[in-house]
């Protein structure tokens, strides 16, 4: 059975991130159900899952498809009165930059959102940095 365009894009993003060598070592996974257990987190984990797609007519004989992927970055943070996230945020920027202007699975890069930069509640209550990159891609067919 052939894969949907969204799944092909997710797979391509997974392979792309898996091949990156960045300032922190990390593991990558493709996931359809981002359901995590905090006590299992011992290193940097990057999970990619398809978020959605939109289509609209772009010309008489073609449509444009906008695909969005969520890339969830999770890492444990050492318990501290005032956690230091400098290295973690730099890593997230590197990860984001690795996707910048890179076409994947025949889809053109449109941009990435990372707002908020990290989940404040996860940091405060679970000593964990969770950051979500929402990447958008365009395909015309």
């Amino acid at each position: 059975m052939p894969d949907s365009s969204l799944v092909k894009l997710t797979d391509a993003c997974f392979s792309h991130l898996q091949s990156q060598s960045l300032s922190m070592s990390f593991t990558t996974a493709k996931s359809y159900l981002p359901d995590f257990e905090r006590e299992e987190l011992s290193g940097v984990e990057v999970s990619i899952f398809p978020q959605g797609q939109q289509s609209s007519v772009s010309a008489r004989d073609s449509e444009q498809y906008i695909y969005t992927l969520n890339i969830v970055i999770r890492m444990p943070i050492t318990p501290s009165a005032d956690p230091d996230l400098d290295a973690s945020l730099y890593f997230i920027e590197q990860l984001k930059d690795s996707l910048r202007l890179t076409s994947l699975a025949g889809c053109a890069y449109q941009g990435i959102q990372n707002d908020p930069a990290y989940d404040l509640e996860a940091l405060a209550e679970r000593n964990e940095l969770i950051s979500i990159l929402t990447a958008t891609y365009l395909e015309i067919r």
């Binding site: 996860a122 405060a124 979500i132």
Partner: protein, 121 residues
């Protein structure tokens, strides 16, 4: 004897009956205590595009026993509690569930502390 001292004495009985040894740490300072743990509870958090569960556990001990570096202190962010279970150390950072405080008093006289933690390995 006041009712407040009765509370503390009664808690000592509870400590000896079902307390567990723990290490309470703040930075490089730590102290060994006997605490009465609550049962483990699992809490779910949902963010924008993910679900996460975590084990939550409270530890109770007399406030007067939390003495670090010669002074009585109260729990705060960055502190950890380490409990050894079947020879394996479990470290629980002190946390503030739902934006609340890191602890509460278990009695009206501020004798017994109930410290909130979450297991993060």
């Amino acid at each position: 004897m006041t009712f407040a001292t009765d509370v503390e004495k009664s808690f000592t009985l509870l400590q000896s009956a079902c307390g567990v040894p723990i290490k309470y740490s703040r930075g490089d300072r730590n102290i060994s205590l006997v605490a009465v743990p609550s049962e483990a509870d699992f809490m779910q958090s949902t963010g924008d595009g993910y679900i996460e569960t975590i084990e939550s556990r409270d530890f109770m001990f007399p406030a007067s026993e939390l003495n670090l570096g010669g002074e009585m202190v109260l729990p705060e962010r960055g502190d950890t509690i380490t409990e050894t279970v079947n020879g394996v150390e479990h470290t629980y950072p002190v946390t503030n569930p739902g934006g609340s405080r890191y602890y509460k008093y278990s009695d009206s006289f501020r004798k017994i502390l109930r410290v909130h933690t979450k297991w993060t390995k």
